[in-house]
Symmetry: C2
Amino acid sequence: MLAPISWRVPPRHYGPWELVVSTLTEGLVRRGVDVTLFATADSITTAKLVAVSPTGYSEDSRLNAKVYEGLHIAAAFERSDEFDLIHNHFDFLPVTYSRLVRTPVVTTIHGLSSEQNLEVFRAYNDIAWLVAISDSDRRPSLRYCATIHHGLPIDDFTFEPTSGDYLLYFGRIHPDKGTAEAIEVARRTDRKLVIAGIIQDAAYFEEKVKPFIDGHRVVYAGSVGPEERNRLLGGALALLHLINFDEPFGLSVIEAMATGTPVIAFRRGSMPEIVSDGTSGFLVDTVGEAIEAVERLGGVNRASVRQWAEEHFSAERMVDDYLELYQRILRQPSRPSGPH
Amino acid sequence: MLAPISWRVPPRHYGPWELVVSTLTEGLVRRGVDVTLFATADSITTAKLVAVSPTGYSEDSRLNAKVYEGLHIAAAFERSDEFDLIHNHFDFLPVTYSRLVRTPVVTTIHGLSSEQNLEVFRAYNDIAWLVAISDSDRRPSLRYCATIHHGLPIDDFTFEPTSGDYLLYFGRIHPDKGTAEAIEVARRTDRKLVIAGIIQDAAYFEEKVKPFIDGHRVVYAGSVGPEERNRLLGGALALLHLINFDEPFGLSVIEAMATGTPVIAFRRGSMPEIVSDGTSGFLVDTVGEAIEAVERLGGVNRASVRQWAEEHFSAERMVDDYLELYQRILRQPSRPSGPH
């Protein structure tokens, strides 16, 4: 399991890729799989931990990211003969080592920060086992072996059977994520809004968010840790996820549903794959439709929302899916050695 | 031959690493060596050119350096079984691929932009064939197989038997390179100074250089191409190379000597290895000594300066040194395969 080394596994606060790696790794170990996790030295795991970098390079600015990336990736590939499979969660650079070893390399594409990154995956289409995190995130030029939605440890999220009285915005504060749209929906439905997340776009926060924060109708809770997240998500009437981009997946969406809180999301990116319209929330196309959806929340059964999350977005389902993929790959005839 | 892809090989203007790669590659081809050059697609060579990146990422800001670096390095390593040797000029990242192939990898350390880069070379001390570009640039923690000074195609530089009447500063304009010290020496010896090079430190240029430029006693020639360089170097009384850092090598120093122009250099870094004190110029410790050295230039024979350059810094000498190293490496018993 080749984790990114931007943050610790599992991350202390932010770090969605590292969070998924942790959930999958711990799930595989519970199933009896012999997992070696290549991650930062301060990572916490029941797998065998192998580390080159003392901590995440986003957590300590003295660390030279490129130096540790190279050493970290090489550490895994140099031991490839010990492993049946290498599962790469660290973007495209490890893929460029993959033809030099015989061990199959599975790559989950967690995000594509640049369209040029596609060029690497394209160049390895013939041997790369690429996993999409949603069907909406599949790129026509890439050959995928599976779509596997993320899952989470459902039991870490407390089911809250009673609806709360506030709307919740949960995510980094950025135009992509629709903070301003959430504020508009809350104001026009005369509901309280709680905003939680790091400020990623300071100008947007100053202009579109801060003027509405009054500590009463619109509350800014900042970045919240696991315990407060659980409470905030569970206590909400609904999560507003009015995204302005084709989001490949939404971890906060499945976290909300795990507590029983329905989600009102724009019908974009992966949302139609994650939110069951009418059961676990509502898919809408406009702010006006989002406002109407708020008025229809009384018709949503919170137990059904939780059940939807349990059935589709549990860690166990994700582990099942990856195990099935691993076994499918291992049934393939082994390909000839690389350059030897 | 794995070149950097920051610039074309050979570079159009700036690009010292790419320049050395070009000189070595062309020299090896002249000796009948079968060389495949991995470089940008617009590179010019008599070797077999293999390219992934259309041009240098420093020449086209649309190119994602990391994407092309990975693809470029992998392209060479994936074909390693076709080569007796891989000669890496592309810093530390290729070294992290080297345990995955059986082909020996020689790395010339052209520069160390960060002390942390040493960690990669240190981690591969047991199998990396490291070449220092001067003895002064050797780091105690690294195991080198050779020091090989750069060479240049001496015949591209016209020997000028007669001393010119101006002092020359040739290099990027930066405190490290001693532009201000060169101006002081010229003023106090009442000589004309010509300054040639890109402005790398704009504040330094504004404060310490520009006030003295009068187009008469102190002339700024900007960045000059190969032809004007030849004329400027050859026409000088001396090159002033009053560096304020331990420069690992000085290409402009050997270029000046190739035209017969002596060099007055601070006794730092690689200078004592490059300048023959009293024969090809003078090594000094202070501006005062540099001023005295200007007065002693009449005692330097320009033919001897050229001869020093021919004997020690020709392309052919560099090619000889690398060929000897390659042969020494190929006589070693081959090491076992990497992870297979």
